[in-house]
């Protein structure tokens, strides 16, 4: 079991991802924005992995990842992105994203990717 942070401003996606990950036995914390995610990570040192949406108002997913890596964070990060933003994935990987999934996605694949990323610890 791992502690996973889900960062997304869309309540439907948050509910979907959280429920799937909880069903896999993980502890899930939710943040509705990049700024909120930074607050969570500042107070909780036990987060093993973050599932981060690319497009969020204010601090985007890539901004968040860049800021975390600049602080030396080694957190595993899986980015969710719309297919039309594939060009932005280059920026995402440059910023320090470990893996990504394009929307629409299969919840089973999400769980499998999260499992694989956690196994690489």
């Amino acid at each position: 079991m791992a502690h996973i942070l889900v960062v997304d401003d869309d309540p439907d996606i948050v509910e979907l991802v959280s429920l799937k990950l909880r069903a896999g036995g993980h502890e899930v914390t939710v943040a509705g924005s990049g700024e909120a995610a930074r607050d969570v990570l500042a107070s909780r040192r036990d987060v093993d992995l973050a599932v981060v949406d690319h497009m969020m108002p204010g601090m985007t997913g890539v901004d968040l990842v860049r800021a975390l890596r600049a602080e030396g964070s080694q957190l595993r990060i899986l980015m969710l992105t719309a297919r039309s933003q594939e060009r932005d994935l280059e920026n995402g990987f440059t910023a320090g994203v470990d893996d990504y999934m394009t929307k629409p996605f299969s919840p089973r694949e999400l769980a499998a990717r999260v499992g694989a990323m956690l196994a690489r610890r």
């Binding site: 309540p11 439907d12 996606i13 979907l16 297919r83 039309s84 629409p104 299969s106 919840p107 694949e109």
Partner: protein, 329 residues
């Protein structure tokens, strides 16, 4: 003689203040009503969301949950539909199919089809968008037909929705809108073509054929799409377009596409592009050259460097120097 007696002035002032007070009251009332409705919707969403998500993720059939969702009616039923459609946009695989089946059970598609024929453009557009999300085979013709809607907004939504039915017919419907009237932004068409080209070999073939279409807007859109699809197999065709097309906009689209899909075989065309009288074509041809390995572009870049050009010279000067053999023994 004057009509403005003190009594009349007082009455007028009182009437004015009454009017202002009534207006403020009405604004406050309408604001409170809107907030109340919004809160009510949020409350219903909070109830509907976990049910919809549980249903979407269920590994096994849950007749009780399915029954609850299928029977949801009134305002709550509307929010269940909204949540189902929202989740539908995010999911693929079994979960998606299950949600589509539930929306069909709830009688959603016939309602959407009726709305897709509404006289109000916003209603038509919203209905077409959702029918595109559902992507039921029965709605293929309806959606494709709506790409010719007199409203550019509705047509744009239909072009996006037509991407749910990738293939020659949907590509043709999207491109047709570029040929005739210019109110639909080319970007909308390109977005639809990208989705279709990625999903269907037939659609990709139709997009390739668009490179020789009589319409320059179609040629430009197809070139841009092939670049976005990173279709390196089309580098030669894009090179020909850059060299021979008479329209600067098409040349620019080809040069920009070659920035992503360029190959060594495109170097002569790109070098020609750097001599174009059109600044953006020269710039993007050079950027496409710079995106290729230096082994295949060294001679072309040297030639560009010999020609003084107010656009290209600063671009070349800003490039890092290639590593010298002495620096890396």
């Amino acid at each position: 003689m004057t009509l403005l007696t003190p009594h009349l002035i007082l009455v007028a002032l009182a009437a004015l203040w009454t009017l202002i007070a009534a207006t403020v009251l009405l604004i406050l009332l309408s604001h409170a009503l809107r907030r109340g409705r919004s809160r009510h919707r949020e409350e219903l969403d909070r109830r509907a969301r976990p049910l919809v998500v549980r249903f979407a993720l269920a590994e096994e059939d849950d007749p009780a949950l399915e029954g609850t969702l299928a029977r949801a009616s009134g305002a709550f039923g509307d929010r269940v539909d909204e949540r189902l459609l929202s989740v539908l946009e995010t999911l693929r695989g079994d979960s998606r199919e299950r949600i589509v089946a539930l929306l069909v059970d709830r009688g959603h598609p016939p309602r959407l089809r009726r709305r897709a024929r509404s006289r109000r453009t916003t209603v038509r557009a919203a209905a077409l968008r959702r029918l595109g999300q559902l992507a039921l085979p029965t709605d293929e013709d309806l959606i494709r037909g709506a790409t010719a809607d007199p409203s550019p907004v509705v047509a744009a939504i239909a072009i996006r929705a037509a991407a749910s039915y990738p293939g020659r017919a949907s590509v043709a419907a999207a491109l047709e809108r570029l040929r005739g009237r210019g109110e639909v932004p080319a970007l909308v068409v390109v977005t639809s073509l990208i989705a279709q080209g990625a999903a269907s070999a037939d659609a990709l073939a139709a997009i390739r054929e668009g490179l020789v279409d009589p319409s320059s807007r179609v040629r430009a859109a197809c070139a841009q799409t092939l670049g976005e699809l990173t279709s390196t197999a089309d580098a030669a065709a894009l090179g020909r377009l850059l060299r021979r097309d008479p329209t600067p906009g098409v040349q620019l689209a080809a040069a920009t596409a070659l920035e992503r899909v360029g190959r060594a075989s495109a170097v002569p065309a790109l070098l020609d592009g750097t001599r174009s009288p059109w600044g953006p074509v020269r710039t993007h041809s050079l950027l496409a050259l710079l995106a290729l390995p230096r082994e295949v572009t060294a001679a072309a870049l040297a030639e560009v460097a010999r020609r003084p050009d107010p656009l290209l010279t600063p671009l070349l000067a800003a490039q890092p120097a290639p590593p010298s053999p002495e620096a890396h023994p």
